[in-house]
Amino acid sequence: MIKNSDFKICFSVMTILTILVGLFQSWGIALSMLNLCLISAVMAMGVNIQWGFAGLINFGVMGFLAIGGLATVLISVPPVPEAWSAGGIGILISGLFLFSVVFSVLIINKRLPNHNYKNYFIFLIIILSIPLLKFIAGPSISRIESINAATSGFLGGANLPIIFSWFIGAILCALVAFVVGKVCLGLRSDYLAISTLLVSGIIITIVKHEEWLSRGVKNVIGLKRPVPYEVDLQNSEWFIKLVEFLNSSKLSNVLDFEERASLLNQLVISSSGVFVKLCFSLIFLAVVLIILYFSEKALNSPWGRMMRAIRDNEEAAKAMGKNVVKQHLFIFMLGSAIIGFAGAMLVTYDGLFTPSSYQPLRYTFLIWVMVLLGGTGNNYGAILGGFVVWFIWIQSAPFALLVINIFTSHLDETNYIKEHLLNSVPYFRYLMMGLGLLLVMRYRPKGLLPEKIIKN
């Protein structure tokens, strides 16, 4: 019963917000807001798994989102054969070199007896391998980047349907999270927060500057879509018939044949955009529901109980024979994989990959606000947080505009203060986020939908 009430709150808020925006602004805006809300909800669930279930503080959300985004490029973009023939072998060789370095470091770490010099030796290997790697890969990289620098200049991808990239993105993120987790998870909470933040900074730097891989700051545009394109819809017979059928009353009012045709044409164009967004919404909603189902199952399983036990009292859990280190690593990978999945979804929805747009405020801390506001440790809370926070994030600029206009209505248009305030409208969303977070932390520290544990 308790769970059901959360479920109802969560999805009725979601429906009401969407319908309100649809009625007062437009259905196109409402649907794109809904889509981003759904993607945010997936991200928030990923963070919630790490923070709410296991108490691991991961400020590297931005990095995992970028890896998910990179996966869409690597999977869906058609390969560039000229670039492969120019520098593909060099890249493969340097990949092999990198692999062998990592492998030898691992072997040394495992096989050699513990000695003071061992760490220095490993350190030396890593330091030496960086210039060597540059030496091996450098010429091929510059060859690849010089081929059609304006339009491609990178290796391209695997030319597969973009849906695959969501899963590949998740797997890539899990692998990266494995490495990051091995290094950082032993640290205390605040150290972990700072070091994951810095690791995500490194990831963004790599994605931004390795142009042969991701085109870097030159961005990848025109990615594939899992749903039809507007232009194709406008030319397909069944879609025109559908629009005609849905608007038959409106159309029958217009008697003139030509006028009716042009009205139909307008309707088809406007509804094709809505239809595409609706398709996205359905896919995203399915993703949210599937992840929600599984993480609810996990939360209420013996495994979920164990995770909560570890979170609430690590020492006691250890004494009970639970392998805390292993479980932490596993849940870190799981949460990061979900975040990566969301990152790939986001890039798919946008249709373009822009590495320079990844900023910690928007892609790490905003997601954290969602989780903390919605309810730590409660999946429905994470979804609700995703919706509410994204709604505030989108709507605070129009709201601020309204408030400023009301308060400065006695000032004339050219007043300096009024002009300045109107120009700074977009930044009021940060203010709203900060105040919202501070108020929730003070008066509802467990979030809007607090964690509820079923006791039998």
Binding site: I57, N119, F123, I130, P131, K134, F135, V183, C184, G186, L187, S189, D190, Y191, A193, I194, S195, L197, L198, V199, G201, I202, T205, I206, K208, H209, Q359, P360, L361, F365, W368, V369, L372, L421, N423, S424, Y427, F428, R429, Y430, L431, M433, G434, L435, L437, L438, M441, R442, P445
Partner: protein
């Protein structure tokens, strides 16, 4: 001659910028480390506190300039600095009273403090952007160069020039003054000692009659001074942009942890370590080797360890190495 040229080259491109950037990082890192040592949390709002202080300084600089007041050869911002410091202290104390005090009395865990500092980060971020906008602002006036590269070449007859910007010298002097006063205060005065005692062991400090409220107040005042000074020096040296200040928080954190979190002297060295490795590892040494190597043996490549794009990544990598091998920092942390 070639040897001298090579030394001048390194001085111009590594040592001088390294000292400047290192001082700015060191001042920032000492602030973060003091908050950590006394109030026991990592303050994510610190970068935006720096931006706020600098913003006030800029606004007041503009006010002074509009009144026709300048500081002669020195930048006007130095005249505006006290006002910036005062207002930053006011803001810090305001947030401490309204936000942090509640959690301190409740003895919340460090993560809660981090989260509320995120909230303050958002608020300060918005305030700075609403008041002064997100754009690049250059507020450096007065005499720009103490020595230009060309003048140096004419003076010494060497091939390489050594440029010395006045902001670099100001940064160095300001850092030396601030740090010596701070370390004198912490090590020699009674109040400073009680602050260290409080950081070392809160309960014992309470037992020996140290007033925690006074210590907290003092910490915020010192931290605000450091933040404003560091922010203004950085802004004078490069330029003021709110987003850059937020980004600078990351190397500052790296410097703090590398030096041992909670240890001001460590943070000081950590700042310089981070700055010199960032600059030293991304510099292309081709020209240097050209001077120093015998003829015919000049290198054909750039001799650059890693490209400049990865400047920030270096500090993070250093941090991770330190975290793995010496989690308490190079200098043992957790004591002021």
């Amino acid at each position: 001659m070639d040897f001298l040229n090579s030394i001048i080259l390194l001085t111009n491109f590594i040592i001088v910028p390294g000292i400047t950037y290192g001082s700015q990082l060191a001042l920032g890192a000492i602030g973060v480390t003091l908050i950590y040592g006394v109030l026991r949390f990592a303050n994510f709002a610190y970068g935006d506190l720096m931006a706020f202080g600098t913003m006030i300084v800029i606004l007041f600089t503009w006010f002074l300039q509009s009144k026709g007041i300048t500081f002669g050869l020195l930048p006007t911002a130095l005249l505006a600095l006290p006002i910036g410091i005062l207002l930053t202290i006011a803001v810090s104390l305001f947030f401490d009273k309204t936000v942090f005090e509640y959690y301190r009395n409740k003895k919340s865990d460090p993560v809660t403090f981090i989260v509320v500092s995120l909230g303050i980060m958002f608020v300060l971020n918005a305030v700075v952007r609403i008041i002064i906008g997100p754009n690049d602002i250059n507020f450096m006036d007065g005499h720009k160069f103490i020595m230009k590269a060309r003048e140096f070449k004419q003076m010494t007859g060497l091939n390489e020039g050594l440029a010395l910007k006045s902001t670099q010298v100001i940064t160095l002097i300001a850092t030396i003054v601030t740090c010596s006063v701070l370390f004198y205060f912490l090590n020699k005065t009674k109040t400073g000692k009680s602050m260290r005692a409080y950081s070392n062991n809160e309960d014992l400090a309470l037992l020996s009659g140290i007033d925690p409220k006074k210590i907290v107040l003092l910490t915020w005042i010192i931290v605000s001074i450091l933040a404003t000074v560091a922010g203004t020096l950085y802004g004078l040296d490069k330029s003021f942009k709110p987003f850059t200040y937020f980004n600078n928080l990351l190397p500052i954190f790296a410097a703090t942890i590398v030096g041992g979190i909670g240890n001001p002297l460590g943070a000081f060295y950590g700042g310089f370590l981070i700055a010199f490795s960032e600059i030293g590892l991304t510099y292309a040494y081709k020209k240097f080797f050209k001077y120093i190597m015998p003829e015919g043996l000049e290198p054909s490549t750039l001799i650059q360890f890693i490209s400049t794009d990865y400047k920030f990544a270096i500090s993070f990598a250093i941090l991770i190495v330190v975290l793995i091998f010496r989690p308490n920092g190079i200098f043992k942390g957790k004591v002021i």
